[in-house]
């Protein structure tokens, strides 16, 4: 039987099926090649993407080291705080989420978007903090809407807490979030966006000691962002504690004394340089910085006319006024232009270079020796001394006692003040020095400016009979490497100045306090306080009288005690406080008394 009889000729359509099947085979081959590309050639790329999908790294913030006073009273510690964060990755509808979160947490929509935009560069799964210091009401509100808003989470963090608020704020400093700019500058290589860093004070100075190493947690997450357990975890290393030289009682007293005034108080151990108290007023509450200011609060704070953020003790520049007379006396004795017995007559004013220079005592002091001139703070006496010394020797003496350079205290931002010289005048001021200025500088006026801390150091050097000292805040027992790279305490003054000259100046200071001198307001029974007042004119008295106003002067007192075995230096500055003897000296007395009470 022939096949064709029973079967049709299908060869044509069969050849067509054959062609199509070949095309399909080729397409299949192409798919294999494409899989080769995706799975073999691009494997690394997709592997990385898959890992990024399934893991979420989060930071466990290390608690910061504590800051205590010299007697282990805690000044700065850490407490737990709740913060709300948004994980953008989990937003189903971004705009809706933001509106909801804003309403839930009562954040202005503008603030919220601004905040999130600031962290745009972070990966989507990274939580962005939108509000900290949640109260329990906020926390429960967030938890109750957990399912609706999976993008909003509550985290707990150790948060810096300053137990005594504004007390010692300028010493301890405050903390703020790192800005994107600072991160770019690589000043903080180990830190990331949103971290808090010490901005000023000890918090900044000892940042590297206080800061711990943050821990990291790697979690497996599913496509909904839910955790499926940790894969690895490195525990945070807490920062190390530091002990300050501050004495809580003295610091509190200093703060109380300045309350309502503008000024600075420094209490110092002249031997060791340990700062027992350092207060600047007006002050601020450093806790406010942790809780993230609203933009208005911040602007208000930095624009306030009395500059509460400024640490006046190390950054305020003031004419030293009569406080400078000790430097003058010591320099003049050492230069040999006067002796202790040298007498000048004060008639209330004196003429030099064709113009009158007044004494604060209009009626004049009469004839005075050096110690009497210090005791009664006679200007005319020191005008004469200044004229005999000349500006160069004045400057030399000022530098010997620490003026014109940083004291080297372990706080950031200290200013160095200015000890004027004719060279300075020519190179900086572009005018010639004129002789009358020397007379002004002789009583601590003119272009001469100093910080309150420099005044304290001047007194400490005098009290130490010439031995230099570097004021510092970190207890030397606290950390061996803690010492800052300030100038080593030089003994230049002791080497260059004969010991008896110190005794002469100190005798004048003792008289000022104990023998009805200008500093009598600081007298403490049986504590042998030696000190000197200062009242610095902001404008000349003649001008003030012409204006018909009573312009108050800055009020200074600087002294130490006891006379023969100095244990404490107290420096007080009250801006616009009036006469030093009337305002600053009584404040110093309180601190001397307290110190004496504590050390009996």
């Amino acid at each position: 039987m022939e096949k064709d009889r029973f079967y049709e000729d299908l060869s044509l359509i069969l050849s067509r099926t054959h062609k199509v099947s070949i095309v399909i085979g080729l397409l299949l081959l192409f798919l294999v090649f494409f899989c080769w590309k995706v799975q073999i050639l691009d494997h690394k790329k997709y592997w990385t993407l898959a890992e990024a999908n399934r893991t979420r790294e989060s930071v466990i913030i290390a608690p910061r080291g504590l800051i205590t006073d010299r007697n282990d009273i805690i000044l700065a510690e850490n407490t737990a705080s709740f913060k709300a964060s948004i994980i953008r990755e989990n937003c189903r509808d971004y705009d809706w989420s933001l509106a909801e979160v804003g309403r839930l947490l009562e954040i202005a929509p503008g603030d919220l978007t601004a905040r999130i935009n600031k962290y745009e560069s972070l990966p989507l799964f990274r939580p962005i903090v939108v509000k900290d210091n949640l109260d329990l009401k906020d926390v429960s509100r967030i938890e109750s809407r957990r399912l609706e808003l999976p993008e909003l989470i509550v985290e707990t963090d150790p948060r810096r807490y300053y137990l005594f608020g504004n007390m010692a704020a300028h010493v301890i400093g405050y903390m703020q979030e790192l800005s994107a700019l600072e991160l770019k500058n690589e000043a903080y290589p180990e830190r990331s966006l949103g971290d808090m860093v010490g901005r000023t004070g000890v918090e900044r100075q000892y940042e590297s000691i206080l800061v711990g190493t943050d821990g990291r947690r790697l979690e497996i997450v599913d496509s909904q962002g839910r955790s499926r357990g940790e894969t690895s975890r490195s525990e945070p290393t807490p920062g190390r504690d530091i002990q300050l030289t501050l004495d809580f009682d003295l610091q509190r007293k200093a703060t109380q004394l300045l309350e309502g005034k503008e000024g600075a108080i420094i209490v110092l151990n002249p031997r060791s340089g340990e700062v027992l108290a350092l207060a600047s007023f007006p002050t601020y509450d450093p806790n406010k910085f942790i809780t993230r200011f609203s933009p208005q609060e911040w602007m208000e704070l930095i624009n306030r006319e009395d500059h509460p953020l400024e640490n006046r003790a190390i950054r305020g520049l003031y004419a030293p006024g009569s406080i400078f007379k000790m430097t003058m006396a010591l320099g003049a004795l050492n230069a040999g232009v006067i002796t202790e017995q040298t007498t000048f007559f004060c008639a209330g004013a004196v003429n030099f270079y064709g113009r009158p220079f007044n004494c604060w005592q209009r009626g004049g002091h009469g004839a005075l020796t050096l110690t009497e001139a210090i005791q009664r703070s006679c200007n005319v006496y020191f005008y004469n001394v200044g004229r005999r010394m000349g500006i160069d020797r004045i400057a030399e003496s000022a530098e010997l006692l620490g003026f014109g350079e940083r004291t080297g205290i372990d706080l950031p931002g200290e200013k160095e003040g200015l000890v004027p010289t004719p060279e300075w005048s020519r190179s900086v001021r572009k005018t010639d020095w004129y002789a009358g200025e020397t007379i002004s500088v002789a009583i601590g006026q003119g272009p001469l400016v100093v910080t309150p801390l420099q005044v304290a150091v001047q007194v400490a050097i005098l009290a130490n009979r010439g031995r230099g000292v570097v004021p510092h805040l970190l207890m030397s027992s606290s950390l061996s490497q803690g010492r800052t790279s300030g100038p080593a305490p030089g003994d230049a003054a002791a080497e260059k100045v004969r010991a008896e000259f110190f005794e002469t100046v100190i005798r004048g200071m003792w008289k000022s306090v104990n023998e009805e001198g200008t500093g009598r307001g600081a007298k403490v029974d049986s504590f042998d306080v030696c000190g000197k007042t200062g009242s610095t004119q902001l404008i000349s008295r003649e001008r003030a009288e012409k204006l018909g106003k009573q312009i108050k002067t800055h009020s200074w007192f600087a002294g130490f005690a006891p006379r023969d075995n100095p244990q404490v230096v107290v420096t007080v500055l009250v801006e616009y406080g009036g006469m030093g003897g009337a305002t600053a000296a009584p404040l110093a007395k309180e601190l001397f008394s307290l110190f004496r009470e504590k050390h009996d």
Partner: protein, 362 residues
Amino acid sequence: MIDRRLIENIDWFLIGLLVLNSLLGVVVIYSASHYVPGNYHWRQLFFIGASLLALFVLLLVDYQVLMTFSLYFYGAVVFVLLMMLVFSRFISKGSWIKLRYFQIQPSELAKIAIILVLAHLFAEYKRNHVSATAVLISSGLVALPFLLVAVQPDLGTAVSFLPLLIGSLILAGLRRNAIIWILLLAFLAGIAGWNFYLKDYQKKRLATVVFPSRDPQGAGYHILQSKIAIGSGGFLGKGFARGSQSQLKFLPARHTDFVFSVIGEEFGFIGVVGVLLLYYLFLWRLFRSAGKSRDRAGVYITFMVSLMIAFQLLVNVAMVIGIFPIVGIPLPLLSYGGSSLLANYLGVGLVLNVKMRRFVNI
């Protein structure tokens, strides 16, 4: 009525490949869904059993007989599709009819009806080239269910009707010029429509109509997740049930349309090549079966069934590796789903039916 000789001529090798592929699917479905409720692997096993049974039942009836009833099948399917559209609120959800214990997808079974009706139409078509009338009739026959399914909306299934039409026209002898013209017109219409007619928001809207709930997280998310899954599998894969992309649910539709991505992730390039090789054997056997048919209708049936499965395979794989837009076309035999499985088994059943009756006298 079933002759011993017919049983002897059953292509057991093809059935073996069919079942092997399906069982492989069960393994992957287990890996992709064991951590969610639903017991999809057990259900798929049940579907395989049921489909195999249906396949054997189908063998009992001569395909010639089936073809004579093909218009009734076709009419019934079109009627059901029409009813689904009209009473969509009561009986159906998209392309599904919800029954008490399971749901069925009539559009999948429509493929079998279309294959039979087209085979019936071209059975006596002996010219070397197809006539315009035949093109119009066959196009109309496919266009009707195509539109009904496309508006369900289930573009994926609707599109998988097209290779049946084009395949049968190619067999019937589409002139080369006609092919070129058709392709050119379709291409130009697509480009013109996309660029000039549709506005951006309309494109977006169209996309969400065509691919409902497929793109909630921004364009390309699913494609990307699928590529990440396949690419991260590398050469050897991450191991059974150990792919992070599927186990942690980054991959969409893991046990259905994206089952191939799970293979790529967990069994690597080796697994992908293995599965595609198995498919190649299977398709090769199917296409070669065309030569074992006794008449023209048999060739058409075999060819269209082969093309139906090949098309779904190619489009699904191209889709999950990101070189083809996402349309809801499952991986034949491997993806979870009873209706699709049943349609493919019935298709293979038709091929076996043709093949085992090749020596029967007219």
